[in-house]
């Protein structure tokens, strides 16, 4: 342990904001002694990521009274006797642009879907997919010129795009080779038609026995990388090698292209991690340490990340095109204003909300301070989460409904929405059921702790739990599907450890917020009415447990799942107003 750094400077360079923090030993425990947030400077007109990082560090120096940069603006490392400087510097980033990928495979339901899932968990966007088993026969050929077999629209689309990456998949290992040879011909033909400076990189993650054929047809034209089959046997997905290769490509082609990346990397002790990788490590750590099913949601200004870990398995989805900042334009385009407006009370003017969301997209660095602006953004946040959840729903065995701990990170927290408002956003968007805790990454440095763990795991764990994560409280979402009407759903009795008692009746279709402060514990007894249950894990109609409070307290959500969203817009928005009152949002 003696060799491990005690004071660690951390930086999380996002597309919009650069967060910097300092971890150090305080009374024998690692604490985040200060953190700052400045504008990222990786884009024009600054074109140097170091400008924002240095500004954040200087601001942190002013905040902590500790000089961290010397007179030449270089990092003071290691810590000096007078306390200035830090022993180590770690950095994570999500500032690079995503890779644009095309997936081409033999079967829509198997190889293409498997590859799409793998790509979606990386910093890459699937722009187009081609599947052999679609359209009118192989390769989607259609009649033309009075003869069978005309041009393929899907292949023509590929030829018009300029992807960074073509992911070729198909066939189980040992399967037929002929279709893969033809697929390789298509990719080679499309590549040959492009100017050689614009040809994409090809990753082949299909039948391993076809590698020679693929290399022979494509290798002379484009750079080809071979990885293990994403679907080696029919019912067994193997996404990791493909994901790792895409990550490597992302690092080489996108991250290292961030202006100033080399200078930042030179400051670090272990190189720069992607924010999503670091965030994944933290989710995994929490899941393993507390044996929980953890759902971590990062609503970033430039990307949306969902991670689920139960300690044994990790699933991740990164949506690059839809986000609560730059991606709001795309969100409005994809889901439409109406779907967003249904989450707003009747007092909101739809046109104003529309303008507000577009303005946030063009000025993602801004911090709305008015309740109505934050509420409009949180309405968009619901649709972002709903849309993101769709990416998971097509995968068997994967649900967002059964988490023990939900962690929220990202721009909505930085903007200062009330925790109750953000909790309601989560409950509206994710069909979570049962009993679970919710915590928030208030300072925006949770992901960076994943990188800190590489230089000092204890420091990462302690700073994470002491300072990065703020507990919001415990949420109860009973299953009310077997009950109808508007009567009583359950009664709740809360006995806080500090003394006293509180009882409340919770009606069907309503929310009940019970204050229980941070660090407080209480014995909770829930008595369900007929037709109301607490999920498969809890038998009987009475649930008793000691639970923890938090910034929000205890939230009981008896609205049912899936959430009853009314078709009549006016009534839905009235209902939304009621839910917001009940939740204190």
């Amino acid at each position: 342990m003696a060799d491990l750094p005690n004071s660690i400077l951390v930086a999380d360079v996002g597309a919009v904001a650069t967060k910097v923090g300092l971890i150090d030993l305080v009374a024998g425990e690692y604490r985040l002694v200060g953190s700052t947030r400045t504008m990222s400077t990786c884009d024009a007109p600054y074109d140097d990521v170091m400008l924002g990082v240095r500004q954040g560090i200087m601001q942190l120096g002013a905040l902590t009274g500790r000089r961290l940069l010397d007179s030449k603006n270089a990092l003071i490392k290691p810590t000096r006797l007078d306390g200035d400087g830090a022993d180590a510097f770690v950095a994570v980033t999500s500032a690079a642009l995503p890779l644009h990928a095309v997936v081409i495979g033999l079967s829509r339901d198997y190889s293409v879907l498997s590859a799409q899932r793998a790509v979606n968990s990386t910093f890459a966007m699937v722009e187009h997919t081609i599947a052999v088993d679609e359209e009118s026969g192989r390769w989607g050929t259609t009649a033309s010129d009075g003869r069978a077999g005309g041009p393929s629209a899907a292949v023509e689309k590929l030829a018009e795009l300029k992807p960074d990456l073509v992911v070729m998949v198909g066939g189980i290992d040992g399967g037929a080779l002929a279709p893969l040879r033809e697929m390789a011909n298509i990719v080679a033909a499309v590549g040959a038609a492009m100017d050689e400076t614009q040809r994409p990189l090809v990753i082949f993650a299909g039948n391993r026995e076809a590698r020679g054929d693929v290399a022979e047809r494509i290798g002379g034209l484009m750079q080809v990388r071979m990885v293990e089959n994403v679907l080696p046997v029919l019912d067994q997905m193997n996404p990791t090698p493909l994901q790792n290769e895409i990550e490597a490509v992302y690092r080489q082609r996108q991250m290292e292209n961030i202006p100033g990346f080399e200078k930042l990397a030179a400051w670090t002790d272990k190189g720069i991690m992607t924010s999503a990788d670091a965030y994944t490590r933290v989710a995994e750590y929490l899941a393993r340490k507390y044996q929980l099913r953890v759902l971590a949601l990062d609503l970033g200004a430039a990307a949306t990340t969902l991670i689920r870990s139960d300690g044994a398995t990790i699933k991740r989805a990164i949506l690059e095109e839809i986000s609560i900042g730059y991606g709001l334009e795309t969100l409005l385009d994809r889901v439409g204003l109406e779907k967003i407006v249904r989450w707003l009370p009747t007092s909101f003017d739809a046109a104003e909300a529309h303008a507000q969301l577009l303005n946030q997209a063009i000025h993602p660095t801004t911090t709305p301070t008015r309740w109505q602006d934050l509420t409009a953004l949180n309405a968009a946040g619901r649709e972002i989460l709903t849309h993101s959840a769709q990416v998971w729903k097509d995968e068997a065995n994967l649900t967002l409904a059964d988490s023990d701990l939900i962690v929220l990170s990202g721009a909505p927290l930085a903007r200062g929405s009330k925790p109750t408002a953000l909790l309601l956003m989560l409950l509206d968007a994710i069909d979570a059921q049962g009993i679970f805790s919710v915590a928030a990454d208030n300072g925006g440095l949770m992901a960076a702790m994943g990188a800190v763990a590489a230089v000092n795991p204890e420091a990462a764990a302690q700073a994470l739990e002491n300072d990065c994560l703020v507990t919001w409280g415990t949420v109860f979402v009973p299953d009310v599907s077997a009950r109808t009407g508007e009567g009583l759903a359950l009664t709740v009795r809360v006995e806080p450890a500090r003394g006293g008692q509180l009882e409340a009746d919770v009606k069907m279709g309503s929310l009940e917020l019970i204050p229980l402060g941070e660090g407080e514990k209480a014995n909770v007894e829930l008595r369900a009415e007929r037709g109301v249950t607490f999920g498969d894990a809890i038998k009987g109609n009475v649930f008793k447990r000691e639970v923890q409070g938090g910034t929000v307290g205890l939230m009981i959500d008896a609205r049912g799942r899936p959430l009853p969203v009314l078709e009549n817009m006016e009534r839905q928005r009235e209902k939304m107003q009621q839910w917001m009152w009940e939740a204190g949002a």
Partner: protein, 367 residues
């Protein structure tokens, strides 16, 4: 109190600046300009020949020829031009008494043949890159494009619909909040860059497109017109944001002075990455305008400093112009949401003498 003052985003709104702008072809082509060449806004200096359509088809499936037999059945090779209805591949059938053929659907060029797959590029019109910014070529990248150095007035926008054009500025801004109506747009709209104050109606947007206006510059655009504006050929620049916002005074006043001048409007909007671009209107410097204007010195790039001019970029201050105080510090500002943000006291030009503390993140530098 916060001792350190961080950076602010910036928007250039200046009567006289020197700029460098890279102009590139979408695909490699020919660059006809040399370094040092003085170039007009409409002068084409790079040209490429992108296909109108790229057709992809399997020759095996078209005429049933085996992949191995494709080379000997082809009558055309990669790189060959083809006329419409010209036979590209033929296969004898019925014991050689007839043949099955595939004819080019349109005139074009065979771009690639790999195995049984052929990519046929259908000829389209050439893609020209005009200078857009009248100035001097300062560097050339063969086959790709070049960099133009220019000097003149520059107005950067908050959002652009895409597209670019050169036109003459036509002033419709009766007031900063005036809305451009379709009724005032007549036949001479063609080739004009229409400047209105507050916004534009849907009908005026459509009419400007029909009359082939060279561009529209407005303070704000209704959210419902966002998608439509991107679909139309006329470039649209929004200077403040979406909604119903008047054009801020510095933009309004500068554009008024520029009425009747030839300008390049570049409404391309790419907010992220190494090739990030802001939508902008550029009016090259002409001597007559220099003589009319008091402001003949080149505007410096704005920086965070006492009395620096700023603009609000978030409601409720969106589009308001103000100045930072003479001696300023950032202070924690409580928000309605119950959090605290670093804020600074700004004196808004529409409320002289009064200072309002505004979140630092909700300001940008202008100048």
């Amino acid at each position: 109190m916060i001792e350190f003052i961080p950076q602010l985003p910036e928007t250039r709104i200046a009567n006289f600046v020197r700029i460098r702008r890279e102009r590139k072809l979408p695909i490699p082509g020919e660059v006809s300009a040399a370094v040092g060449l003085r170039i007009g806004a409409q002068d084409v200096f790079a040209r490429a020949y992108p296909p109108k359509q790229r057709r992809a088809l399997s020759l095996t499936r078209v005429i049933g020829v085996r992949e191995a037999d494709v080379p000997k059945r082809l009558l055309k090779q990669v790189g060959d031009p083809v006329e419409a209805r010209e036979i590209i591949i033929a296969k004898p059938i019925s014991l050689g008494t007839a043949r099955l053929v595939y004819k080019a659907p349109e005139a074009g060029q065979i771009a690639a043949i790999q195995g049984s797959w052929m990519i046929l590029d259908v000829y389209g019109p050439p893609f020209d890159v005009p200078a857009l910014y009248r100035g001097t070529i300062s560097s050339v990248t063969p086959r790709e494009g070049g960099v133009i150095e220019a000097q003149g007035a520059l107005v950067q926008g908050a959002w652009g619909s895409g597209q670019e054009a050169v036109g003459v500025i036509k002033w419709f801004g009766k007031s900063p909040d005036a809305i451009l109506d379709a009724e005032v747009l007549e036949a001479d709209t063609r080739g004009s860059i229409l400047i209105a104050g507050g916004g534009v109606t849907r009908a005026a947007l459509e009419r400007a497109h029909e009359l082939r206006a060279a561009g529209i510059v407005v303070g704000s655009l209704a959210g419902e017109l966002h998608t439509r504006a991107m679909e139309l050929a006329v470039p649209v620049i929004v200077t403040e944001g979406f909604g119903t916002k008047p054009m801020s005074a510095p933009v309004f006043e500068l554009l008024n002075v520029l009425n009747g001048q030839e300008a390049g409007i570049n409404a391309r909007y790419r907010p992220r990455g190494r090739n990030a671009t802001r939508p902008e209107l550029f009016v090259p410097l002409v001597v007559s305008r220099m003589q009319q204007s008091d402001q003949t010195a080149e505007a410096k790039r704005p920086e965070v400093a006492p009395n620096a001019r700023v603009r609000g970029i978030c409601e409720p201050q969106l589009g308001r112009i103000g100045t930072l105080p003479n001696e300023f510090v950032l202070r924690w500002l409580p928000t309605e949401a119950g959090t605290q943000l670093p804020g600074v006291a700004v004196e808004w030009s529409d409320a002289p003498g009064e200072h309002e503390t505004v979140p630092w993140t909700n300001l940008e530098l202008i100048g």
